[in-house]
């Protein structure tokens, strides 16, 4: 049961092959069995079984949707009413969300079953899941390596079949990088496509939620539920949501693929490069033509991001002050002591580093040199994308410079960790959508291909990924011990 796609499971639920309660129980058992991956922070067993029973009633009555009765898991960044929502931080270890994120409401309305809340880097700041207060998540392909981050729990859980699919969020690569390192399919939609309401903010002009699944078809089904305008998110985009399923089988004959030369130079591991080359050849066989494009400002994406994201984070995280919710220090002597110690004790090291960086970049005398300069570079990067995407239909490239690295290998050197996000960060600055699709293995570990499209071209990305998955089977591989 746990290896089936959403469409297959939906069919099985309707034919009476199995019930949602049986399906949910099977996943809850697997979560217990593979607890050592540390993918979940909270397992909502009782709630899941209640929701599964309700889904079975809906299915029996015949008023079910595609996701009705399907066990999904939520990244612990999405607020879930009555359920602990930690964002991977000690700061929110005692936080029971008083309302649902819009995304969570949408899954509830569709009748999906929530298995629990997934582990993540603290406040989504990290590329390895090692900054979580709840401990490192393991990559099921090799438990000595990281699953990537920040949506590391989501990627690990989907790869190990501990959920049919999961939500993730992506500020600088946090859906695509873990999807690549764990061999699953991940989509970061266009900024504004999925509501950010109730999704705990890291960098508001970059954050975007999206699906993490085993196939492009499953991602289309999930995105159909997640996407859409939301009155409660002031940056939500008011555009109709297309039918993501209907275009999946379109032919790729004549598709124009651009390869940025800046993506295939120094720093890209040669085994990863060879795997990507094979995938691009597969696209040639499907009728695509490939040309080189140039995006000269890409090299400044990391410095611009590490000004803009920390600046927004330092403002967003000022709400955690020990007064209204979350962690409060013991016996504060005065108000400043209350703020300073609650924040000092509640936040971990990486979060503090970024708050400090952001505070500095926004402080008097440095604002123009750092923040405004970074925003100008952001404009040039987005123009690079616009120009390239006027010449070709999609851009392809690596997601990560190498396969999953070892637990503990980079955590002591934050700058080196930041540099590993070189291929994903520019996409968030521009706001365009991008996917990671599993395209093979290097030294036994999964490799992801990144497909980047124009604003609101999620349907095209899903089509391109789905066509590849019709002629290859990389996305069906399961890590040993999790079959």
């Amino acid at each position: 049961m746990h290896n089936k796609t959403i469409a297959e499971l939906a069919k099985g639920l309707r034919s009476g092959e199995f019930s949602s309660v049986e399906l949910t129980t099977a996943f809850l058992d697997r979560i217990k069995q593979h607890n050592s991956l540390n993918a979940y922070i909270t397992v909502t067993e009782e709630l899941a079984l209640q929701e599964a029973k309700a889904a079975d009633l809906k299915l029996a009555k015949g008023d079910a949707e595609l996701l009705t009765g399907i066990p999904v898991a939520q990244k612990d960044i999405f607020c879930t009413e009555g359920v602990k929502t930690t964002c991977g931080s000690k700061m929110l270890d005692n936080f029971i969300a008083p309302y649902n994120a819009t995304v969570v409401d949408k899954f509830n309305n569709a009748g999906a079953v929530m298995l629990g809340k997934l582990n993540m880097d603290e406040f989504a700041m990290g590329s390895s899941n090692e900054t979580s207060y709840y401990g490192t998540v393991k990559n099921p392909w090799d438990t000595n390596t990281v699953p990537g981050g920040s949506s590391g729990g989501s990627a690990s859980a989907v790869a190990a079949r501990l959920a049919v699919c999961a939500t993730g969020t992506d500020t600088g690569g946090s859906i695509r990088q873990p999807a690549a390192l764990c061999g699953i399919t991940g989509l970061k939609p266009t900024y504004g496509r999925v509501s950010r309401y109730g999704m705990i903010a890291y960098a508001s002009s970059l954050d975007q939620g999206g699906p993490m699944t085993r196939s492009a078809e499953d991602a289309a089904i999930m995105l159909q539920t997640m996407a859409g305008f939301d009155e409660k998110d002031s940056t939500s985009v008011d555009l109709p949501v297309p039918d993501y399923m209907s275009g999946l089988s379109n032919s790729l004959q004549g598709l124009k693929i651009g390869l940025p030369k800046e993506f295939f130079g120094e720093g890209l591991n040669s085994d990863v490069a060879a795997t990507l080359e094979a995938a691009i050849n597969e696209y040639r066989k499907l009728g695509a033509t490939v040309t080189e494009v140039s995006m000269p400002t890409l090299k400044l994406a990391i410095p611009a991001y590490y000004v803009i994201a920390p600046a927004e984070c330092s403002a967003n995280l000022s709400r955690f002050d020990g007064v209204r919710f979350g962690y409060r220090c013991e016996s504060p002597v005065d108000l400043t002591d209350l703020y300073t110690r609650s924040r000092g004790e509640g936040f971990g090291k990486e979060v503090k580093r970024r708050i400090l960086m952001g505070t500095y970049a926004l402080s008097a005398g440095y604002y123009d040199a750092y923040y405004i300069k970074a925003q100008k570079i952001r404009r040039l990067i987005s123009e690079d994308f616009k120009k390239a995407l006027s010449e070709v239909d999609v851009i392809m490239g690596p997601v990560t410079p190498s396969i999953a690295f070892g637990i503990g290998e980079k955590i002591g050197n934050p700058i080196e960790m930041y540099l590993s996000d070189i291929y994903t960060i520019a996409i968030n600055l521009a706001g365009v959508p991008a996917m990671s699709v599993p395209v093979g293995f290097a030294k036994g570990m999964p490799v992801g291909l990144q497909i980047i499209g124009n604003y609101f071209a999620e349907d095209k990305l899903l089509n391109i990924a789905h066509q590849y998955q019709q002629v290859t089977d990389w996305h069906t591989h399961t890590p040993k011990g999790f079959e």
Partner: protein, 95 residues
Amino acid sequence: MSLTADDVKKIAHLARLGIEEQDVASYAKDLSGMLDLMTQMSDLDTEGVEPMAHPMDQVQRLRADAVTEQDSREKFQAIAPQVEDGLYLVPKVIE
């Protein structure tokens, strides 16, 4: 560019962020490393480029000035560290 231990303490104070004395040096080193990374930005001439704050260059939507939320004070205060008579309690601010 490099930051001193005093710089780090000053920034931490601005952010009302407690950091352990023994960690100050490592934050100074990490932040200096980040600033080195950022100096690459000055290699590029951005004269006349309009700063970009938002991917869609959208303006904030306005809504009608009408009450849309219900009073949820009790619900929100149920998760507060310390409340009394509907008020959030903090250490005494005015003597």
